[in-house]
Symmetry: C2
Subunit: 264 residues, 2 copies
């Protein structure tokens, strides 16, 4: 296991080093106070469509940073390497998942453009500070994520459904959860839906499309936030020759502070 | 001259039709209550760099909409045509201005991607409603715009200086002007600088790089807002084979309402 005793206290550089050294686990709860990011690398030829897709769907695809073609590091991961510093990756060829490696050095190409997209793990510490417990942390599982029946605005060849993450929240705290997360628009902001999964086309909360199921405690409502796995769902639909994302829930831990993305 | 008697009362469709029919004049004060947009069309091959440049410089290049390659209309200009509906255009080849036509049909290519970028004319009605007079409207001239000594964040081949528009504001109303315009981040938002043009590398307020000089009344401070001509300055520096923008101050009048871009 890891050399890191307290995941919440690890600095981003320590966390990235642990993942680079081979630790594999979801990153919720890691490096408290620092922003986490969804990762998607795509060839330069498809990058315009993906960037436009993100621009047209800012709720699910809020861009924190874009690395130029072939770049493997940047200001959000000082001294890091995007090919090794994420706990686990998903490699797609022609839209099909072909590999889930812990290092993508062997898949890397110099024309890959890497998108870093905001992640709702970033506002979980603020929710906890506001007295809202995070069920998937309490239950020790990855956050559950679902494809919805809502279509994103397409861009060029890129189209796909909105993907959401779900957190159960006590009815009395739903307003707090909305208020707190709405102050973090760069990491998905306020929920997109509260309380009725059927309306999103989700028939079984116990069978998420990504991540793991959480038990919904009595008196809690399911609350749904837009999720940065959305562009990976678009990759599956749109089938670019190559795309490499993080494995859902296994994020890049960045050097940016949560508070960098806090609005008044 | 125009068939339109009251420019402020013209609907966006009427304004676009007047420009399509050959009217040429700056658009400040037109179609009160509707958003205006900077226009820049660039070949698909250079569009990723421009989109990334805009993403990295949101204050000067806030994207309202991007038309897909070859598209000439879109939801912000219902029934319109981006090739004819702007009063005057600037055509660049290899970064050099080669034409200032009132119609770009002859320059059009099917691989051109058109960016519509927020324009500070959009918040001028709100400034007026707040009691702040607009000097260039009162003086009947185009707004003055200046290249500054501030570099934008580059993206791929695209780099250039920040361009600003300048409006003189009475000292007692500068705070009002900040407060009012900060509520419109999608159309440049709050000023980038107040009061000292030297710090922006502007040596002579009477000699703007684009638009026309305005007289600065006694007791007024020059207030500078980021300007959507910034990507055209990047085109001049970065020299893509073809780029077509609006002529500075001669904007696209869109169907979006100013209030669509108002934040709380």
């Amino acid at each position: 296991m890891s050399r890191i005793a307290d995941r919440g206290a690890a600095t981003p550089a320590e966390a990235r080093a642990a993942f680079r050294d081979g630790l594999v686990e979801p990153t919720s709860g890691w490096s408290r106070g620092y922003a986490q990011a969804n990762v998607l690398a795509i060839p330069r030829e498809q990058a315009f469509d993906l960037l436009l897709f993100a621009q047209r769907n800012p709720k699910s695809c809020p861009i924190l940073s874009v690395l130029e073609p072939g770049e493997t590091t940047g200001p959000l991961l000082a001294g890091g390497d995007i090919r090794t510093d994420v706990p686990k990756y998903t490699v797609y060829r022609d839209g099909e998942k072909v590999d889930e490696p812990t290092d993508i050095t062997g898949h890397w190409r110099d024309d890959l453009v890497t998108f870093l997209i905001g992640c709702s793990f970033t506002f979980e510490a603020a929710l906890q500070d506001g007295g809202v417990r995070i069920a998937h942390i309490d239950q020790g599982v990855n956050v559950p994520m679902f494809r919805t029946n809502r279509e994103c605005a397409p861009a060029g060849a890129m189209s796909g459904p909105l993907v959401v993450s779900m957190r159960p929240v006590p009815a009395a705290q739903v307003a707090d959860a909305v208020r707190i997360t709405s102050r973090y628009p760069a990491v998905h902001g306020a929920p997109v839906h509260i309380g009725n999964p059927d309306e999103l086309g989700i028939s079984d909360l116990g069978a998420p499309d990504f991540g793991e199921a959480v038990r919904i405690p009595e008196g809690h409502l399911p609350v749904f936030w837009a999720c940065g796995v959305t562009p990976q769902a678009a990759v599956m639909r749109s089938r670019p020759p190559l795309a490499i994302g993080h494995a859902p829930g296994h994020m890049l831990i960045t050097d940016a502070r949560d508070s960098d993305y806090l609005v008044p």
